[in-house]
């Protein structure tokens, strides 16, 4: 074991009162979270909601609820990452030029470099791994089984486990705000800055374990989704009829399954350096710091495609629905998804062209990177031809999908510029790169926002408010333009990234423009929250039937909205690629089953939550080096897994009569009826654990 700086005791490891930061901003954040926490706890206790929370959410194995919880975690982290962004923009606009003022003890701006560095590290880590990734995993969780006509995922229990491990990662990052500090080495973990000699605190350890634990969850989820798509398709759902979103989910999860282990190895070796005193990535003593960059980006580049492919899938579902035309070029769309996934494996070196490899190496990776543009271009043209001669309706999901197209164009073209080593040498590590990948990640965010608006009625039975949704979109778009166009420009002017102080006063106008942009984002967040609030409040008047948009095409729109816990009362038989269109043409879209059968459903289980709790104490013990706690938690996980393997009674039966009752109640769900979580007097969210 490595000797750590500062006090250490066997009982509480490195913990001490000094670990609690005394910073007014963090104190404010703590107050905010504490008040929020008390309000939520109070509501649960006095509203007698604990039992409901436990039964319906904490112990659930229902893929839709797990998906909803993934998305909730993602949205909370998106908000946290957004606050980080506001703080960074404000620091940079304040700290521009030698005469800029200083507040709160900072020479310029209001944040000390030590604090600023943690903020951008947390922002990047959170946004990619704890906001975008969980929301996408959540959406795939909800939609894929519905699209292929399955009752649930292939492994419902594993699904819940993945969720709780992701939650643990997010919780560790949030904890680092109030106890100790977070890594200051960037979201990529710049070596050798992450080594013990340069980062002796707990920050890097928080970063390592949050990612390590959550990525176990993501890997399990990927295996689960792949198995589900391969094995759980309804009869007639052949490969050539698979909806595009499911295809992109398959390709994206193949990326996840093959690339996340590399991240695990990279972080594991870094952990060995920090805990056992090895020298994998140190400068000297046999270490090779570039090996870390290599391993990180072997995962890192596939990861960026992991986040964008599902967004492509969402756009491919939304655009045909609102253009009221079949998707143009189905086969090429599938081929392009897999081409992108395949090529994404051989381009990672474009993240360090400037490292010093020879011209043939750089040329190889430059060409490989630009080849990605071909399948991406195919997709863009397919979407364009889908809209061409269609009857496009610009409801909010469509706005987001079309917005994503523009972002893709801008981000893709700047990516092509970066892919050329001569250009890259002049803008690498500048904010031009930051603007590039934010434009790309905007494709993901736009896709996500479109998908949430698009599938929300399927899951909850009512639509999100349209006028507020449109305002949200337009303010968000205005913010995107105001922040990132000036950022591209200042990147060209030579502004490097991750600056807590900007020496060149000529950059001030761009910083001011970006500050205005982030203000527009703040307004858009207000409209988003307001939209959620208003939609839930007025849900009775926003009710929808099975096909919420009147022009949906794929299988999932066949189920009642909201989807009952068993998805399909009778496993559907699939006849066409756009099954709902086929049924509509045959006049069958409202047909119900003639008779119902018993349904076998997985039982709720608290085991994944228990394992998650042990993983949390394990991570905490590792960060603070409390060895008895790590040993006990690890033992706890192993014993829980063993104990669970003896539980045979994992399913229950929903009787046919009960299914009929629920279905009849649900089919009566027309706009304007119903109120709270019940439909036609039947609680759709409630697994009826009878008859076992």
């Amino acid at each position: 074991m490595v000797n750590v700086q500062g006090p250490w005791s066997p009982l509480i490891g490195r913990l001490s009162l000094g670990a609690i930061p005394d910073n007014p901003i963090i104190a404010g954040a703590f107050l905010f979270s504490a008040v929020l926490g008390v309000v939520i706890l109070g509501y649960l206790t006095f509203g007698h909601k604990w039992g409901y929370l436990w039964r319906e959410w904490l112990t659930t194995v229902d893929h839709k609820k797990i998906g909803v919880m993934y998305i909730l975690i993602g949205l909370v982290m998106l908000f946290r990452g957004f606050i980080d962004a506001v703080m960074m923009r404000t620091q940079q606009v304040l700290a521009d030029g030698p005469h800029s003022p200083g507040f709160l003890g900072a020479a310029h701006g209001y944040l000390l470099p030590y604090h600023f560095d943690q903020i951008y590290s947390a922002h990047g880590t959170i946004m990619i791994l704890f906001a975008a990734t969980p929301i996408l995993v959540g959406l795939m969780n909800i939609i894929v089984p519905l699209q292929i006509g399955a009752r649930d995922m292939a492994f419902p229990y594993l699904n819940a486990l993945g969720l709780w491990l992701t939650a643990v990662g997010a919780a560790l990052i949030m904890l680092s705000l109030f106890l100790g500090d977070f890594s200051h080495a960037g979201w990529v973990g710049l070596t050798p800055l992450t080594e013990m000699a340069y980062s002796p605190g707990v920050g890097v350890d928080y970063w390592i374990w949050a990612i390590q634990i959550a990525s176990v969850g993501t890997t399990l989820g990927a295996a689960n989704l792949i198995a589900t798509i391969i094995k759980m398709r309804a009869p007639g759902m052949t490969w050539s009829r698979l909806p595009i979103f499911t295809w992109t989910s398959l390709s994206t999860n193949i990326i996840a399954l093959t690339s996340f282990p590399v991240l695990g190895v990279a972080l594991g070796l870094l952990g060995a350096d920090r805990y056992f005193g090895t020298h994998f990535f140190t400068a000297g003593l046999g270490g090779n710091l570039m090996l870390y960059a290599d391993l990180f980006w072997i995962w890192g580049h596939p990861e960026v495609y992991f986040v964008i492919l599902p967004a492509f899938g969402m756009m491919s579902e939304i655009i045909p629905t609102f253009a009221e035309k079949p998707l143009f070029g189905y086969a090429t769309m599938v081929a392009a998804s897999f081409a992108i996934a395949g090529v994404s494996w051989s381009v990672w070196l474009h993240h360090f062209f400037t490292m010093g490899a020879g011209p043939s190496v750089n040329t190889f990776f430059s060409i490989a990177t630009m080849i990605v543009g071909i399948p991406t271009g195919v997709k863009v043209f397919n979407w364009a031809f889908t809209v061409y001669h269609g009857r496009s309706r610009f409801e909010t999901p469509m706005l987001w999908a079309v917005g994503a197209l523009f972002m893709l164009l801008l981000g893709g073209l700047t990516g092509m510029m970066l892919a050329m080593p001569p250009i890259n040498y002049s803008v690498h590590n500048s904010v031009f790169v930051v603007a590039h990948f934010h434009t790309m990640l905007m494709v993901v965010i736009y896709g996500i926002m479109g998908a949430v608006a698009y599938w929300f009625p399927k899951v909850f039975g009512f639509k999100l408010d349209e006028p507020l949704g449109k305002r949200f979109f337009w303010f968000f778009t205005a913010g995107t333009i105001m922040v990132f166009i000036p950022m591209y420009t200042s990147g060209f002017m030579g502004m490097t990234r991750r600056l807590d102080y900007i020496a060149n006063p000529a950059l001030l106008p761009f910083e001011i423009a970006e500050e205005i942009g982030i203000g527009l984002y703040v307004v858009s967040v207000y409209y988003f929250v307001r939209q959620l609030f208003v939609s839930v409040r007025d849900r009775a008047s926003h009710r929808v039937g099975a096909d919420a948009w009147g022009s949906a095409r794929t299988l999932e729109w066949l189920t009642p909205s909201p989807v009952p816990f068993y998805n399909y009362a009778v496993t559907p038989r699939v006849h066409a690629r756009d099954e709902l269109v086929w049924r509509r043409e045959q006049g069958l879209e409202a047909a119900t089953a003639a008779h119902y059968e018993d349904i076998l459903m997985p039982k709720n289980t608290p085991v994944p939550l228990v394992i998650g709790a042990f993983a949390m104490t394990l991570g905490f013990g590792l960060v603070w080096r409390i060895w008895w706690l790590t040993d006990a938690s690890f033992l706890g996980i192993i014993l829980t897994v063993i104990a669970r393997s003896f539980v045979r009674d994992t399913d229950y039966v929903v009787r046919a009569g009960e299914v009929r009752k629920i279905e009849q109640g649900l089919r009566g769900n027309t706009p304007g009826t119903g109120g709270d979580g019940t439909q036609g007097g039947v609680g759709v969210w409630r697994p009826q654990e009878s008859g076992s």
Binding site: I254, G284, G286, M290, D294, G356, V361, S692
Partner: protein, 116 residues
Amino acid sequence: MAHDDHDPLNHPEVRVASGRAYAAAFLIAMALMTVSLYVARHPAVAPHPMLVLSGVAAFVVAVQLLLLLKLDFSSTQIWTSVTFALAFPLFVIAVGLSLWMFHSLDARTMLMGLMR
């Protein structure tokens, strides 16, 4: 339980387990290890010791894949086999291109000097 008809021990993936195959895998691996140890200690016995060692290593891998992991084309194992086959090119890309890059880096930077 009425519907408790899925004893884990009846799963086809579990059924492929076979003590005889495991023992055979172990014995073959031991034998090949002895051979490679002997070649490593007495390189003169083989014309190209590195080639012989690599060949033996490949053979061990094949034995373990077939006898321990049961990667074959039966309906229960086919997806596992396919997964392995797909992982192979990825491995070649990741490791091969990395080696190429570090080789190029070595010639042009002082990085490797740092390592000593």
